[in-house]
Amino acid sequence: MTLDSLLFQAINGLSSASGLFFIAVGLSLIFGVTRIINLAHGSLYMMGTYIAYSFATKIGGVIGFWGGILATAIIVGCIGALIEILLLRRIYRAPELFQLLATFALVLVFNDMTHWIWGSEDLLGPRAPGLAGSVELLGRRLPSYDLFLALAGPVVLLILHFTLKLTRFGRLIRAATQDREMVGALGVNQAVLFTSVFALGAALAGLGGALQVAREPATLATDLIALGDAFVVVVVGGMGSITGAYLAAVIIAEVKALCIGIGVVNLGGISVNFSKFTLVAEFLVMAIVLIVRPYGLLGKPQGAVRSIAEPEEPIRAATPMLKLLAAVVLGLLLFLPVLAQSSPYLMILGIDVLIAVIFATSLHFIMGPGGMHSFGHAAYFGLGAYGAALLVKWLAVPMGFALAAAPLVALAGALLFGWFAVRLSGVYLAMLTLAFAQIVWAAVFQWEGFTGGSNGVIGVWPKPPFNQGWAFFLLTLALATVAVLVLRRVLFAPFGYAMRAGRDSPLRAEAIGIDVKRIHWLAFAIAGCICGVAGGLFAFAKGSISPESIHVGRSIDGLVMVLLGGIQTLTGPIVGASVFALLQDTIMRQTEYWRALLGAVILVLVLAFPSGIVGAFSNLWRRWRGAS
């Protein structure tokens, strides 16, 4: 590879960087002012491409294309304003996690809406009128549209920079980023400010998406891919810094371009295809930055957030009645196989529910008592499932061995990712965990030779007697019971107390000698390990595993289960997982647009039951007891 081709790739990288920048900068601005991570930001970007496609093809010509791009930015900005007014305004005082969930519900709704309007085919827009050709650079032909995109990023960066610096709107954004309550006390209507910032951020995402129309096809998978990329950019660049966002976008895009540019290289007799390493490279950049500068290249440590949410209730040991109830439920479950003789499907459903219980309980362990809101728990589920399945596929190990190995593989992953994750907190941690999960997913997806790529691994069937539904059910029941009991035991051990102390007051916990990061790291590892059990069971229960079943959707399912049950109780995740798994089985299969339905369910949940099902019942119970 020559210097020329390197330069060529570098310019290519700059045009990708612009796209990354448009989406990341909006995310960053919105977070700065409203303290909400807009998970639907990738969806706004995706819809930008689709809307611009419609303008460019339906109206066509210069007006349809260039005018369409501008119109798209305005339309998406208006969608953003509507989101802020109709949804976010109601939940600014809700716990962070609910805000994240609410915006994720929008991801689901928008994805199905886009699917419904534009269909599931990829749509490639026309070439840009006026920029359809290419320019000659160093003896190579470079599409002039790419060159235009490469310039668009810095131009928007400059405009934003001077807007923030020189206008009152910009000054208000900067002031509100620091202390929005004080801005309100000085007579500024925050509602208007928040809406306009949200609209601006959305318009930037829409613009970014629209500009891609002549370069890449519009696809339904863009929303989460763009979101994951934007997270990495924001984490690397530093939250709230627009220059940092551009810098990070350039670094990441260039590293990726370099990997593709290098291509296949012979290293000591082994040919290595670097273009397969784009995701690993992204991860490495992020890892290095986080080690050196935990708040990103140009970010600042987040000041102590003035907490407006209610403090967490202490968790309580189970009452004798609850223990009795648990024993009765367990007893009934033991008899379920007898009932299931007439309907074998009951066993399959039972196994699904129990796997969900293990998954949700392990997630709750770090989310509730640990205060670490992981948005990437699917990673450990996937590591467990793939760990077990690949051992069976490549080494033909017995089922017992594979099932035992699953949590160990997940543990290894959780130890690695957790080490980075516990260095951050709050939304940074949520973003990082989501990015890690995206990386696991993409690695599985890209590494076709080893993992089977999108086809996954098949033929992972349990050996007799566990090939019988009832036997596998009892095995799952036994493992689920052990998992729940182990996690409970840990929570009521000194380790559990230290973990909660670290959540509630990290500084005070450190002052009495608790190594908070270490405790949280170990907790993260324990949760990942237990989650691996669920993954291993899942692979054997289905007889196969594919990237689809470890996608970000599963992480979010886990969050919904935990929130459904209520985050402040230990029975919450168990109830939440059961209800969710049953709901998914019965309702979600009825419609093609189950995502939108799920999104709607989440939105109702977030707006109507801020303390979850179990929380709502225990509040009722307390009120009833208080009244009598």
């Binding site: 980023t177 202390d179 403090p311």
Partner: protein, 242 residues
Amino acid sequence: MSAAMLTVEGLSAWYGAARILYDLNFEVGRGEVVALMGRNGAGKSTTMKTIMGLIPQREGAVRFEGTDIARMRPFEIARLGLGFTPEDRRIFADLTVLENLDIGRQPPRQFPDGTPAPLWTPERLFALFPNLAEMPHRLGGRMSGGEQQMLTVARTLMGNPLLVLLDEPSEGVAPLIVEQMAATIVELKKTGLSILLSEQNIHFARLVADRVYVLEKGQIHWQGTMAQLADNLEVQRAYLTV
């Protein structure tokens, strides 16, 4: 004393389950400087934040210029002409002095009787606080405590308020600045501004205040003129001296 500008009746406030204020009743007349005095934790700052709408859990009536502001949001209250300078100053550290002032800017205002309220511009404020005039482009985060204290008062004045809630202006600043601040308050009073001041330091309060309410554990235990408090060593010992 002229008619009351700010009237507080039966004001209570809670942080979560903890009740902080118990049924407070007091008023501030037009052009008056009234001090809320008491030790740390007596509830002075909470009273101010509650009036300003910054404590969500509150009960009781707050009337400003005849308007009931007890259920209004902070920005609406500020737009009626009630200024607030918090005890921890809350300067925007990433913004310059001029930019900080700009955030506080509001349109000119009139008293209900039609007389115009003093109109503040950065130039007039720089004349009032010469220290600030020397550093118009300095970042808020790079200023000393005393300079920040001046800036927070100046920023509130940019809203052309009719009444200012001034939370512990003498706290944590050098003695020289404390004296300057007292002189400034006297100066502001002359422009017709009413001030509700919270203060622990009786020497400072004596320089500026007309009347005093003494708070302890969220309740008013004594009220009277500044001169009466200055002579009443018993009240001072019971509620003020450490």
